[in-house]
């Protein structure tokens, strides 16, 4: 009732399209599994000079949801790699795939030269620390520590020696005869770490071990883990959602978002040269300031009229960036990438499952929400529009995102010599937060809020004017279309 004929036609067409794409996805999935099986039968050669190698790792669940997309990483021995990202980005899933607790859908995993996809967790010789410790409640601390060794049939003396040694390192010797429920959070965490240490395993995997602790304990445990790593020097993969932990602990950071790797690099690299806006705002606190502005032939023009002139290198980098984008997009069009099914279809596959609500709605003839889905024709048009966008960016003026970290904004009075000054700018202070030794100054620039970090030299009242300069050595530009970094 109440649905016009045109709407019905539209609905019908959409449903057909959905079905076709669902079928495509199913076929793709099955094909992927078969290919993977065939691939696995071939002999594997581990890459040398790399301790842990993850090559093209994908994780797709039975309900066609993909959690990890094309994860590639080479880890050297004794490194402490940190996977960091917001919840649901696939970092834990990747860790569990390395551990052997999850099946690797496609891709290869090598640990210490051994192809490990088919190996059980025991055979991989890894040790894991869980977020909620997972201590065996019916065993004492001693037995908890000894359990893994007993399973591997070590002698009693060996077990005793190792357990005592690990207990000493972690200072839990006096708790050895207690049960987990008699321990505090921090002690339990140490026991969980101890379980990993006694094993003297090749790889340590830690899944957000500090998330359940209070802030102060977290800080102290963080340094303990770092010291532990220095002492034991095991290859460690550490998963966290806290960027501070990532920055302080990692030898290298892997930033992930929604299953995709955003950037891999050392803390310095990730901090100083973020690959896209996500990494830029994720790493560093307070986050990098992002302001939209116009770019025209080497000049950045802000909405309040403020201008920054870019030097020749920057301009060249900018042009190069867009040329690459154009080439990429053209390649996608040429390779008919638009015929791939729309990932939104996955959502419909979920909704397809029997639901009582839907049935009732159908019976009562309520209007069904049409699912927005893109046909290949739509996608082709999208890609072509994208191509045109990029061409426009290359040729004429376009919007860009200007990024600058708070500490790279200086007051227009005392400026260190290393700073390459931009032109001065005066903005109104909306809020000046005093943090003791420094100020966080909130201001508005072109409709965006920016924060500047300044040393305390004088009292800065709210609503006063603040003269500032940007450090042009440290500026970042991001593309509005794909949010990637131009520089």
């Amino acid at each position: 009732m109440g649905i016009s004929r045109e709407e019905k036609e539209l609905l019908k067409k959409q449903n057909e399209e959905i079905k076709r794409q669902q079928q495509l996805i199913r076929e793709q999935y099955n094909k992927m599994l078969i290919d993977e099986d065939n691939r696995r039968k071939q002999p594997k050669l581990a890459p040398d000079n790399v301790y842990i190698s993850l090559q093209n790792i994908n994780k797709v669940y039975d309900n066609y949801v993909q959690a990890v997309f094309d994860f590639n990483l080479d880890i050297q021995e004794h490194e402490l790699i940190v996977f960091v990202g917001p919840s649901g980005c696939g970092k834990s899933t990747t860790l569990r795939m390395v551990a052997g607790l999850e099946e690797i859908t496609t891709g290869d995993l090598y640990i210490d030269g051994v192809y490990c996809n088919e190996k059980t967790a025991k055979e991989r010789d890894i040790a894991m620390v869980f977020q909620n410790y997972a201590l065996y409640p019916h065993m004492t601390v001693y037995e908890n520590l000894a359990f893994g060794l007993q399973t591997r049939k070590y002698s009693k003396e060996e077990i005793d020696e190792r357990v005592k040694r690990a207990a000493e390192i972690l200072q839990i010797t006096e708790y050895l005869q207690r049960r987990p429920k008699e321990l505090s959070g921090g002690q339990m965490q140490r026991v969980a770490l101890g379980r990993a240490i006694v094993r003297e395993a090749k790889v340590f995997l830690m899944d957000e071990p500090l998330s359940n602790l209070d802030a102060k304990l977290r800080v102290s445990m963080r340094s303990e883990i770092i010291n532990l790593h220095k002492k034991i020097n095991a290859t460690t993969i550490y998963v966290t959602h806290d960027q501070t932990e990532a920055m302080t602990m990692a030898s290298r950071i892997v930033v992930m978002k929604k299953g995709y790797v955003q950037q891999i690099g050392t803390p310095e690299e990730v901090y100083a040269h973020p690959a896209n806006t996500f990494v830029a705002t994720f790493i560093g606190a307070p986050a990098m300031n992002l302001v939209e502005c116009d770019y025209n032939d080497g000049r950045l023009i802000f909405e309040n009229g403020f201008e920054i002139a870019l030097d020749k290198e920057h301009k060249a980098a900018h042009d190069e960036f867009y040329r690459q984008r154009i080439a990429e997009t053209q390649k996608l069009i040429d390779e008919k990438d638009y015929e791939k099914p729309d990932m939104n279809v996955l959502l419909t596959l979920h909704r397809e499952k029997f639901s009582l609500k839907k049935l009732i709605a159908k019976i009562f003839g309520k209007k069904q929400q049409p699912v927005k889905i893109k046909t290949p024709q739509d996608r082709l048009e999208e890609l072509q529009a994208l191509l045109d966008e990029y061409k426009k960016c290359l040729d004429g003026g376009h919007r860009v995102i200007f990024g600058i970290r708070p500490e790279d904004i200086y007051e227009n009075t005392e400026i260190p010599s290393a700073v390459r000054r931009s032109q001065a700018l005066s903005l109104n202070v909306s809020l000046a937060e005093l943090l003791g030794s420094e100020y966080h100054i909130h201001m508005q620039l072109g409709g965006h809020e920016i924060i500047a970090k300044c040393k305390v030299t004088r009292h800065i009242p709210d609503n006063s004017d603040f003269g500032l300069v940007f450090d042009l050595n440290k500026l970042h530009l991001f593309d509005t279309i794909g949010t990637k970094a131009i520089l």
Binding site: L101, A121, F130, F147, K181, R195
Partner: protein, 285 residues
């Protein structure tokens, strides 16, 4: 100071009232057992009087002697047989039920939900419906007049046990199993070292139910056991009760009943300790 006194007094009265109520309830529960034991040691004439003496000192061991002497000490044979059946059945059922419950609760295999649903559906079938077909089946394969039909079906599948244990196992955090996986445990090691210790209270409860059910299973024993050598406690007591009940038999029957619950009472006393211990140990945070 005055307020403290008043509060204490109120708490005291409350405690007293609650204690009295609980005491009355306890007495109501214990009284049948007390009466049974009393009748078992009463003098025969007194029993036939039919008076309700709560306490009497006119006691005799005659009834117990009669029970032990009945059919030349048949009661020991009955005990032995009852024990064998009950213990083998209980241990077997605990083992298979916990294995199945573990599989249903923690192992993801295709069709686990439908199969489990089927299991639970069979719980709705009353025992009387299956009793006759089972008997015919066992008669055909010649298992009558033996303990097998009383032990094997329960050991093979005990749906109630699987249901109860599965609920218990589901509450064990999967993190424990993952940690044990990393520690290198295979499925059986996980079962023996981690699951079994953690479900001790449920196991003991199930074991007790199973044991008592088997111990008191008069109908099953009646139709499957014919040989007097295979007599069990329920059959023994029924045989003692006889038809045309005469007064003299009551003392004997009470004595036999008392003797029949003695093993269960002992087991229960022991299990109580483990039961409480079990809950205290796991105390999952």
């Amino acid at each position: 100071m005055r307020k403290l006194k008043r509060v204490n007094k109120r708490v005291l009265i409350q405690t007293v009232i609650i204690t009295v109520i609980v005491l009355i309830a306890a007495l109501l529960c214990i009284f049948p057992f007390y009466w049974m034991i009393l009748t078992a040691v009463k003098n025969h004439d007194l029993i036939n009087q039919g008076t309700v003496d709560l306490v009497t000192f006119d006691l005799t061991w005659e009834s117990f002697k009669a029970v032990f002497g009945y059919n030349g000490g048949l009661i020991w044979r009955a005990y032995l047989n009852s024990f064998i059946i009950a213990i083998v059945q209980t241990l077997g059922t605990l083992f298979t039920s916990s294995l199945a419950a573990f599989a249903f609760a923690k192992i993801k295999f295709k069709g686990s939900k439908p199969i489990y649903g089927l299991f639970i559906a069979t719980l709705m079938i009353p025992g009387q419906v299956t009793m006759l077909p089972l008997f015919m089946m066992f008669a055909k394969i010649g298992w009558t007049n033996s303990f097998l039909p009383l032990i094997v079906p329960s050991v093979m599948i005990n749906t109630y046990g699987v249901f109860m244990l599965r609920s218990f196992i589901v509450s064990i955090p999967s993190g424990l199993l993952e940690a044990s996986e990393v520690d290198g445990c295979g499925w059986f090691r996980k079962y023996f070292k981690i699951i079994l210790p953690l479900i001790k209270p449920a196991l003991i409860t199930l074991g007790l139910f199973s044991f008592i059910g088997s111990w008191n299973n008069y109908m099953g024993h009646l139709i499957y056991l014919s040989d007097p050598k295979l007599t069990t406690i329920p059959l023994f007591i029924a045989g003692m009760k006889e038809t045309h009940m005469t007064g003299a038999a009551w003392g004997r029957i009470m004595a036999a009943s008392t003797l029949s619950i003695v093993p269960i009472a002992i087991i229960y006393l022991f299990c109580q300790k483990y039961f409480v211990q079990g809950i205290a140990t796991t105390g999952m945070k």
